[in-house]
Symmetry: C2
Subunit: 225 residues, 2 copies
């Protein structure tokens, strides 16, 4: 083996390691969406990925590190589907609407799998530590993005300048939480329509005459049970 | 022992059995509010009540029966504090406001202990069985009471007759869920004030000119962190 081949081989090994780690995190995230972050264990993840426990352990070092990796992966996907996907839409109310639509779409898709921001909140509300910290950080980043979109809507004169942006963000959060609860747990038909109406109701309260109307055609959301 | 003494003795034994059962359920409910219904076990409850496992088992027969008893006890307390306490207030909007205030008060008191209607929803949303059924039944009874109070507010001409009562109930639920999430998990200061404002905002949208104004003085709620 030539000396030059060594770094290339190391790089390939590192790349393979990253790929394996990604496969494990993906499987662990699926599992966490079913049974909760607290249900995750190195053993259970080894079983579903058909790896050895020591193999999984080698990639994370602890169950806690595995849980944190799952929170980060969830965050990356959420950000991609809900936030980045809305950035192509015009700044102000159109973008805020797009963010809400994407968020609602994701929440309704999760009817079958569960949102770890919601289940994680009840699992970790009184369990201090790095997993809780990772969850709070992740949710807070998203909430800051929602708040920014509301403030931008005020800057664009789409929402009244004297409206309380934090209050609007709080109420939007409530609509999403009610959607998740009523559709996923109670299985109440029409929850998606109610969530959309709830969002529209609160915009009506704060929108100015200059606010652009919602786009006419929205892709239909997957039906909930 | 005379023959007449036997029924009296049996009655005393049955009463004592009921008392012991109530002590166990109380301890189990406290535990469930900390660690979730799924965390409950006959063994853990035996430990905190300083009873034998077989002694606890004799009262319930299964972990599931213990969990259901906890849901029923929680329901009875919730009903007492939130619903019955509001029945002395005038029918219509005053009573609806009282129900919301009591509900919010209970939610904010639970900041330190946890609401099993909320944590139970994420624990049991995809676990069919009698515990899930007991939770859904209990929440549904409460939701029906909220809906009834809204419809009565319409009957009293305090809320617009053409307002969608189910939509109002959905949005009220969202406000409570956001309060629980933001105060208990994220520990955001001012969450209680935001919840109250959220409720007032949605009433303003639907209230008629005949609606009685909110009572001036409200007892201050316990501060959240």
């Amino acid at each position: 083996m030539s000396l030059e081949a060594v770094p290339a081989k190391n790089a390939r090994a590192a790349q393979k390691g990253q790929q394996t780690k990604a496969v494990i995190v993906d499987a662990a995230l699926n599992l966490a969406q079913q049974i909760g972050l607290e249900g995750l264990s190195i053993g259970a993840v080894a079983e579903i990925t058909k790896m050895s426990k020591s193999g999984v352990f080698a990639h994370f070092g602890s169950r806690e590190e595995l849980q944190i990796s799952v929170v980060r992966e969830y965050h990356a996907r959420f950000e991609q589907e809900v936030f980045y996907a809305a950035l192509s839409v015009a700044r102000g109310l159109p973008r805020l609407r797009a963010m809400f639509d994407n968020w609602m779409k994701r929440t309704s898709e999760e009817i079958d799998s569960g949102c770890i921001y919601i289940s994680g909140a009840t699992e970790f509300d009184d369990r201090p530590g790095p997993v809780r910290d990772a969850l709070v950080e992740s949710v807070s980043i998203w909430q800051a993005a929602v708040l920014r979109a509301i403030v931008q809507s005020q800057d664009e004169a789409h929402l009244a300048a004297d409206a309380d942006a934090r209050q609007i963000a709080f109420e939007i959060h409530g609509v999403i939480l009610a959607l998740h609860y009523e559709a996923r747990f109670l299985r109440v038909p029409g929850s998606i329509e109610r969530a959309r109406r709830g969002f529209d109701n609160l915009l009506e309260r704060c929108a100015t005459a200059a606010a652009p109307p919602p786009a006419a055609a929205k892709p239909p959301l997957k039906r909930v049970r």
